[in-house]
Symmetry: C2
Subunit: 199 residues, 2 copies
Amino acid sequence: MSDSVRRRTHGQASRQAFVDATGVLLRRQGYAATGLSEIVARSGAPKGSLYFHFPGGKQELALAAMEHTGEQLRAGIAALLAQPGGAAASLSRLIDVLAAGLEASGYRDGCPIATVTLEASGTEPVRLTAERVFSTWLAELEAALEADGMEPGAARRRSLMVLAAIEGGLVLARARRDTGPLEAVRDELRELFGAVPAG
Amino acid sequence: MSDSVRRRTHGQASRQAFVDATGVLLRRQGYAATGLSEIVARSGAPKGSLYFHFPGGKQELALAAMEHTGEQLRAGIAALLAQPGGAAASLSRLIDVLAAGLEASGYRDGCPIATVTLEASGTEPVRLTAERVFSTWLAELEAALEADGMEPGAARRRSLMVLAAIEGGLVLARARRDTGPLEAVRDELRELFGAVPAG
């Protein structure tokens, strides 16, 4: 490996280490509580390279971490929804996966975007990034529901409901240290999907 | 008014001003971003009396503010649910009230408890207070659903779903600066309540 390639590879590894560390901290404790020194310590990357990769400092890092964790979760949602059996069954599996992950992390790893949204939605670049990430998740849900035969308007409304219920279920589950709220959401969504309007 | 009564009255007014200011700041920006000097400035109360009323500092203030805003919202939920027309219609009105309040505040005033829960659920007194406040809201919802004839187990599950969907709807609405997610939750809940299981 030439020196310049090695430097570039190290540089990319450091950049990704900063992004990963920021993603974990934003998910667990949010934006305001997360300081640059904590990010550097968790990343294991050289402190001196932080401003080289992220001249915009903490906000630029936070946006990159939100995009990165958001894309990971989008891909996970897409993979689950691509399984056979229909969207409603896939959503039950998605909620079970999220509940298991939350419990395994000692109720620390909830949604990687929600905490930052609630704290920092007054900071327009943060809000716009949160909006964009949520939109990528909603697009996956909508596409799966339309593939199941739902009309676009109904699929859009149902997707917002599904994501809202999951996000709120994660909030309540963290407050209670109990996956019960997510299980309730899963079972109620199953009822909503299986239900026929009475009117 | 005697001097001692006047002092006590002033003291209670200062205490409440600190609690109110903390409640607004926790709701808008969360726990980590809220400093004691910002609380004092917003309260208009004398800085010197802060540690007299709250020797435990910021955490004690935050718990008092969560209890206070939580009780205000519980009373609001109870009042709406007490209106005639059944729980489902009352819940639609509750969501419309929350959406209007969020929009009127420039998308700053969401749930007073959720932000702190997501940031600070690792701090056990904060988590326990969040759990307790959510439980008081859930108890109102469950009682209303049972009064409508729902079995206790079903009412418990439905209440968790309703609260989760509203909490998540507030997160998405803040990210999008748009009440659409709350309207979708309202309409989907109406369908869930009106629906007959297909199976």
